[in-house]
Every structure is written in structure tokens, then in C-alpha cells.
């Protein structure tokens, strides 16, 4: 008799347990949806505190380039296609600006600190423009900088690649005004001339 009652109890307990899990999963899914980048109703909070090492050997923070318009792009030196394309467009835009280019500080932040030492990064950015400053750091410093700019990056494993991986990373470059407020995004489709025009407007507004 007692045994029979226990048997009856088991399915009820399992059902309650399942219900509990279901509620927890639904709550978590909803909560993460609100936390996640999918919510488009809010303005993106791009930019914020970071501490990194520059290709000039100095420690830099988000305060280091105040007073200049910052053009912030995340990438890595082993990137053979997307990064050279963007860095070249940035270099062309700076050329178009002529002497006004001194008012802009392009920053190339590595999302591959394992391979991008300040020395490697320095040679790389120098190939595009001596105006571009490369920034790298510890994995934790890079993660913090990427988080500040809402940048995604992750290794993509592929056997034939150097060291067995490539990096997926956010494709856009971010423009911060002289007060370090996010004002524009340059995508891989933005022509260099358009970048130059936007930067020229921002320079005019800040002088």
C-alpha cells in the first residue's frame, strides 16, 4: 500500500520538476533577450574605459586622445582581406584631409593579442599609414576594450591557417568626437571619400 503511494508520487514530482525547469529556462531566455545586443530600441552605448599598450610603447586610455577625433577599428594582423581593406580606406581618407588629418587619431586595436605584440602591430600599421596607432594588450585588456565598443570577436578554427585559427570580428570602425562621444560608424562599404567628408564635418564642428 505504502509502496503504491510512492509510485503515484513519482510522476507528480517529475512533472513539477520539469515545470520548474521550463519556467527557469523561459525566464532566462527573456532576461538574456533584454540584456543582449538584439534590443534595437536603445541607442548603442559605444566607447568607454580602456587601458592598452600602443605601438609607440606607451600605455594609453580612452583619455589619451581627447581633443582629437578618434577613428577606432578592431582587427588583427593575420587578417589578409578585411583589415587591409579598411585600413587602406582609412589611410586614403586621411590623405584626402591633408593637414586636417592631424586632428584625427586612427586607432587599430588588435583582437588577437596572442600574436599581435606591439612590435608586430607597429610594422603592420606603419605599412598603411604612419598616422595609424596600433593598440594591443593582455587578453583581459582587449576584452575590456572590445566590450566598451560593443565589439564581437572570436577565433574560428581552421586547420590550414597559421596557428590553426582565423578571427571573426566586428567589421565596422567607430568615430568618436573630440569629447569621446560616439558619433558615426564606418562600415566596409563606406567609401574613403565619404569617410573624409564626414571627418571634415566633425573637424569643422569641433573647431
Amino acid at each position: 500500500m505504502k509502496q503504491e503511494r510512492e509510485h503515484r508520487f513519482v510522476p507528480v514530482a517529475s512533472a513539477l520538476c520539469l515545470l520548474g525547469i521550463l519556467v527557469a529556462v523561459m525566464w532566462w531566455a527573456e532576461a538574456s533577450q533584454f540584456r543582449g545586443p538584439a534590443s534595437s530600441t536603445r541607442l548603442p552605448a559605444i566607447g568607454g574605459a580602456f587601458t592598452l599598450t600602443s605601438t609607440h610603447g606607451t600605455t594609453v586610455t580612452e583619455q589619451s586622445y581627447r581633443g582629437k577625433i578618434q577613428l577606432v577599428y578592431f582587427g588583427y594582423t593575420y587578417c589578409p582581406d578585411a583589415c587591409p581593406t579598411m585600413l587602406n580606406k582609412i589611410a586614403s581618407a586621411l590623405d584626402e584631409l591633408g593637414p586636417l588629418a592631424a586632428r584625427v587619431q586612427p586607432l587599430f586595436i588588435s583582437i588577437d593579442p596572442q600574436r599581435d605584440t606591439p612590435e608586430v602591430l607597429a610594422q603592420y600599421v606603419e605599412s598603411f599609414s604612419s598616422r595609424i596607432v596600433g593598440l594591443t594588450g593582455t587578453p583581459a585588456q582587449i576584452a575590456a576594450a572590445a566590450k566598451a565598443f560593443g565589439v564581437y570577436y572570436a577565433p574560428y578554427e581552421i586547420a590550414d591557417a597559421p596557428d590553426g585559427y582565423l578571427m571573426d570580428h566586428t567589421s565596422a570602425a567607430f568615430v568618436m568626437n573630440v569629447d569621446d562621444y560616439f558619433v558615426a560608424t564606418f562600415t566596409p562599404d563606406t567609401p574613403a571619400a565619404q569617410m573624409a567628408a564626414r571627418l571634415r564635418t566633425l573637424i569643422a564642428q569641433s573647431s
Binding site: 594582423t77 593575420y78 587578417c79 589578409p80 582581406d81 578585411a82 587591409p84 581593406t85 585600413l87 587602406n88 580606406k89 589611410a91 586614403s92 608586430v120 610594422q123 603592420y124 606603419e126 605599412s127 598603411f128 564581437y152 574560428y156 581552421i158 590550414d160 591557417a161 597559421p162 582565423l166 571573426d168 570580428h169 566586428t170 567589421s171 565596422a172 562600415t187 566596409p188
Partner: protein, 156 residues
């Protein structure tokens, strides 16, 4: 004598037809690469493939003496994230040039044996499903080169 002439004729005809059979129906135009920044282990190779034959073909693989490996890749901008992914084969349709260009399809060179310097030339062997192996000469342009629009004699 007559037999001799017809023999020569036969040889001539057969060698011509042999030459036609061997003529690759894929033409490689504007094969180029960017000069590599110091210390780079990778590079990308771009070109335009024109199928002059009557049927569709596919680029299957590539090899070059300047790198350990050349793989067909594509760059995809997926919701704002740049992803580079290997591609098994690339269709080359008759009448429609297939363009490998920055931000899209490219041959990724891995294990570069040395830096690619502006003005340098090197060969690449492309293997097609039907046309077989087609050799092309690649010209190395400056680091910041963007492709055909920066090439003389070609306007976009």
C-alpha cells in the same frame, strides 16, 4: 608523294585539334595581390575569371610557389561581423566574369615563404573541374591597393 602530303596534313590537323582541346577555356585577368606588411604570414590573391567555353566550370583548388597553401575563401559580413570562411569550389559561368576581390572571394595564401613586395610577380596554378590547370601571373601591388580600380587602363 600524295601519301606523304596527306600524312603531313593528318598530323597538322590532329595537332591543331589537340591544341584546341588543350586550350583552357578559362581566362585569368588582372591577377593581383597586395604587398604584405612586414612579418605577415598570410596574403590574399584576387583576380577575374572569364569562362570562354560553352559550359559552366568550377575553380577547385590553387597552388603557388610563394606560399605553403592557397585556399579559396570568402569574406562574409554577417550582421556586422567579418567572417572568413573556406569555400569548396567557385562557379565560373560562361558570359559572366567571376570576380575575386577585397571583401569577397579570394585565394588565401597561408604560410607565406617571404614577404610580397610591390612590383614583384609570381605564378599561381588554378585547377578547374573542366579546364584543368591554368597558370597565371600575379602582380603584387602596394599594400593599400584596392584592385581593378587602382589598375591602369581599367576604369570602374
Amino acid at each position: 608523294m600524295l601519301r606523304m602530303i596527306s600524312l603531313i596534313g593528318l598530323i597538322a590537323v590532329s595537332s591543331v585539334s589537340l591544341a584546341i582541346a588543350q586550350t583552357p577555356s578559362i581566362e585569368v585577368q588582372h591577377a593581383w595581390a597586395r604587398a604584405t606588411p612586414a612579418g605577415a604570414k598570410t596574403a590574399a590573391l584576387y583576380m577575374t575569371l572569364v569562362n570562354k567555353g560553352p559550359t559552366a566550370d568550377r575553380l577547385l583548388s590553387a597552388a603557388t610557389p610563394v606560399a605553403g597553401k592557397a585556399e579559396l575563401h570568402t569574406t562574409i559580413d554577417s550582421n556586422g561581423v567579418m567572417q572568413m570562411r573556406p569555400v569548396a569550389a567557385l562557379d565560373v559561368q560562361p558570359g559572366t566574369p567571376t570576380v575575386l576581390k577585397p571583401g569577397g572571394y579570394h585565394l588565401m595564401l597561408m604560410g607565406l615563404k617571404g614577404p610580397l613586395a610591390e612590383g614583384q610577380h609570381f605564378t599561381v596554378a588554378l585547377t578547374f573541374e573542366k579546364a584543368g590547370t591554368v597558370e597565371a601571373t600575379v602582380e603584387v601591388e602596394k599594400v593599400g591597393a584596392m584592385g581593378p580600380d587602382s589598375m591602369p587602363g581599367m576604369k570602374m
